[in-house]
């Protein structure tokens, strides 16, 4: 047994929302297996992982239990001995490789640091080992990667460098805390297969923390499900994925959207376009270099339908969304709302038309002004355009009810709401303008999977009730499958494929769309449960 956690309880500081971050948790990680700990935000999974290396934040203290690593109780060790274990016998990788690497040191030097700290190898030997390691991570040019600074590598390459650093001294245990969450889906697939390959070759134990059941299905040997600091279910991957026992596990699995679009009644085939994007291009000028964000994009949105725009980071999907609501100007081409080209409007004309296209933003924490009451935030739009407060505020209460919030909550401030509730407020703010077109920019990507499902259902309901047309930007093909009628796949500023969601996501034609669909984690597992 590489690691065994026995009856661990970790206490939170006073005035936290609960007393214990982790409560009476016991979990084993074998010498040659990948144990996935799954949970939503606030489940205590990350605190559990940090307590193994005794890297808990200030004020958070382990209160009871033991953590045995190769038979030794880590809680009993003096700090010096603990340092000998960190990085050498237990490796750790984190969610964001950019912040975990020091931006001022070369990647190779940072990996070499591990050898210098824990071994007395001569410098030439260290250098050779570093390059060898980077080669094992399948980096195309290991010598060049070693010389590079973190910002010169892509996100996936940085995460490979992090893994190289964690595995430099061939630890018996690797702790991976959401290592692929910040990565694009195709990169995520590569990193997951790399972790699996290295685990099998080094025969080490891996404790893999994630919120994503798709990722779990890809990689886990065993699965532990956590909720509110308590382990609710544990078992082999096959058992937990196919026959979950605990209701919470079932709930979580049911909330993972299927990649297969649900069969909907077909739309009126001849529904008019309410939005036409014709040959739109946009180029950013950065440090003298031109970066093409959009290249001749042409798309149409039919009234009352949902168009999904799917792509990885840098595909131009967010730029396109911002052009549609005129937060960005286009270089060429036309964006027509009901036949009127909004890119050609003057500022005054646009202000008269602004209500027709409204946006819901990605980040529930940054998209609401923290110093305004939520009712005022929703009322703001109509008030700017001359509506009377006496007319607007009753409508705001109605809107709160429509998006599933208590109308009495209008007097509260944004920080009193959860992420999902804030997205509902953002939606109410957009709806207050009575738009024809709603542009939703990754509205659920910052939310837990169960909340995500609720918000998606809400958007679909409201769309049906109000006859809205929706442009839905997402990186998540599963989400796109659930909500979109048509899907456009973007890569490098271009639309590479567009069609009915059922066609594009089930039988993609373009090689890039095929790669994207193939990279969706847990695809085979869900395909099995769908049938």
């Amino acid at each position: 047994m590489a690691l065994s956690i026995e009856n661990l309880s970790v206490r939170l500081p006073r005035h936290a929302d609960r007393e214990y971050a982790v409560r009476d948790l016991s979990l084993d990680v074998g010498d040659n297996e990948i144990v996935c700990v799954v949970g939503e935000s606030g489940s205590g999974k990350s605190i559990m992982a940090s307590s193994i290396l005794r890297l808990l934040p200030e004020g958070v203290t382990p209160e009871a239990g033991r953590i045995l690593f190769e038979g030794e109780n880590l809680f009993g060790l003096p700090l010096d001995a603990m340092r000998g274990i960190r990085g050498a016998r237990i490796g750790m990788i984190f969610q964001d490789p950019m912040t975990a690497l020091n931006p001022l040191h070369r990647v190779g030097d940072q990996i070499a640091e591990t050898f210098r700290l824990h071994t007395s190898l001569p410098p030439a030997e260290v250098r050779a080992r570093v390059i060898d390691l980077l080669g094992q991570m399948h980096l195309p040019d290991p010598a060049r990667a070693a010389r590079a600074y973190p910002h010169e590598l892509s996100g996936g390459q940085r995460q490979r460098a992090m893994i190289a650093m964690a595995l430099a001294l061939e630890p018996k245990l690797l702790i991976a805390d959401e290592p692929t969450t910040a990565l694009d889906v195709t990169t995520q697939a590569q990193i997951l297969s790399l972790i699996r390959e290295l685990q099998q070759r080094n025969r080490m134990g891996v404790l893999f923390i994630t919120h994503d059941f798709g990722v779990v299905a890809e990689i886990a040997t065993r699965i532990a499900v956590m909720r509110h600091g308590v382990l609710v279910e544990e078992g082999s991957a096959a058992k937990v994925l196919e026959a979950p026992e605990h209701p919470y596990t079932r709930e979580l699995i049911a909330a993972v959207p299927s990649l297969k679009p649900p069969s909907k009644e077909p739309l009126q085939p001849l529904g008019q376009s309410v939005l036409s994007i014709v040959n739109v291009s946009k180029t950013y000028r950065q440090k003298g270099r031109d970066v093409a964000a959009l290249k001749n994009v042409t798309l149409a949105l039919r009234r009352g339908s949902t168009l999904g725009i799917v792509g990885e980071s840098g595909s131009g999907k967010s730029t396109l969304a911002r052009c549609i609501v005129r937060l960005l100007t286009t270089d060429s081409g036309a964006i027509e709302v009901d036949g009127a080209n909004i890119t050609a409007m003057t500022r005054v004309e646009w202000r008269k038309n602004v209500r027709r296209v409204q946006m819901v933003f990605q980040d529930p924490y940054a998209s609401l002004n923290p110093r305004r009451k939520v009712g005022d935030l929703v009322a703001q739009g109509p008030l700017i355009h001359g509506a009377k407060a006496a007319d607007v505020y009753p409508r705001v209460r109605d809107l709160f009810a429509l998006v599933g919030l208590d109308p009495a909550a209008v007097d509260r401030y944004p920080h009193e709401f959860s992420g999902g509730q804030r997205q509902r407020i953002g939606l109410a703010r957009a709806l207050a303008m009575e738009p024809d077109i709603l542009v939703a920019d990754e509205p659920v990507s910052a939310l837990d999977v169960s909340v995500q499902a609720q918000v998606l259902t809400l958007i679909a309901d409201i769309q049906r009730k109000l006859g809205l047309s929706v442009v839905f930007i997402t990186h998540d093909l599963r989400v796109a499958a659930q909500i979109c009628d048509r899907v456009a796949i973007m890569q490098g500023g271009q639309v590479v494929e567009e069609g009915m969601a059922a066609d594009v996501l089930v039988a993609p034609k373009h090689p890039y769309s095929q790669a994207l669909v193939a990279a969706v984690p847990g695809r085979k597992w869900h395909a099995a449960t769908d049938v």
Binding site: F361, A366, S367, N369, G381, I384
Partner: protein, 277 residues
């Protein structure tokens, strides 16, 4: 409210507030305790403190009541401090907000002007302005404000640079909100806390600037001020040290109290330092 509560728990803010209250009480009671003009000749020059019950803190080199000058001087100093701080913060916020929000050439132009002001030592600039515009007490408050706005401007600009790209700002633009409303009603309230904290530094510094001017004999000679008293005491420093020492002490207390309040505000407004209990 949370800020006020946490301010009430900060020892430095409490001490600072108590000291400032003392100075405020001096300013408020000056007219009632000393009904005569503080600059009128009251008695024999250079009477030591506590020697004559009519002059508890003695008289200066021309026979004016030191205590009366100290009390009236509190009015002058606080007035100068308040007005010049308001002037400096208002200019600083407007310049910083416009530069930070619009960026591009507006930012470049405004920041060049700011740098031009910063490269000249503020006291030299102040001397120049006083020579040009004279040293009436009102003018003085304005000019001190005019030489102190650069730091608040840079601070505001830095806050605006991070806030202008937040999604809530984009949401406001998406609603068709005019820029001036976004700048002053949406972003500014979020950018204000560090600027308010810095205002205490500006206030303490402008009180010092006025005293320094008076020490050089360039402040308004028709108003009782601590700096004027020090300038007068300088000539008799070896025989009657109290004339210069007493106002010096009061300046020290005032500046200290404002700095302590600023320190407390900084702790209270910084959520990471705010203790939750």
């Amino acid at each position: 409210m949370a800020v006020l509560k946490s301010l009430a728990r900060s020892p430095s803010a409490i001490i600072g507030a108590a000291l400032l209250l003392l100075i405020l009480a001096m300013a408020a009671s000056a007219g009632w305790l000393f009904p005569n003009d503080p600059l009128s000749l009251a008695g024999r020059p250079l009477q030591a403190p506590f020697a004559n019950p009519r002059f508890p803190l003695g008289t200066d080199s021309v026979g004016r009541n030191v205590a009366a000058q100290l009390f009236y001087g509190a009015r002058t100093s606080l007035l100068i401090g308040l007005i010049s701080t308001i002037v400096a913060i208002v200019i600083g916020i407007v310049v910083g907000a416009l530069a930070g929000f619009y960026g591009r050439w507006i930012d470049t132009a405004l920041m060049r002007v700011t740098e031009a002001f910063q490269t000249v030592p503020s006291f030299i600039l102040l001397l120049l302005l006083v020579v040009i515009f004279g040293s009436h007490i009102g003018t003085l408050a304005l000019t001190i404000g005019v030489v102190s706005w650069t730091a608040p401007a840079r601070l505001t600009r830095a806050e605006f640079l991070t806030l202008r790209n937040r999604e809530f700002v984009q949401a406001c633009r998406g609603l068709g909100m005019p820029n001036w409303r976004i700048i002053f009603f949406e972003i500014l309230p979020n950018a204000l806390p560090p600027v308010i904290v810095y205002a205490s530094v500006v206030m303490a510094f402008s009180i010092l600037l006025e005293s320094a001017l008076a020490f050089l004999g360039l402040s308004d000679p028709n108003v009782a001020s601590w700096g004027n008293l020090i300038a007068d005491g300088r000539r008799v420093l070896r025989t009657a040290a109290y004339v210069a020492t007493l106002p010096g002490l009061v300046i020290l207390i005032t500046v200290l109290s404002i700095s302590l309040i600023g320190q407390g505000l900084n702790d209270a407004m910084n959520p990471r330092l705010r203790r939750k209990d």
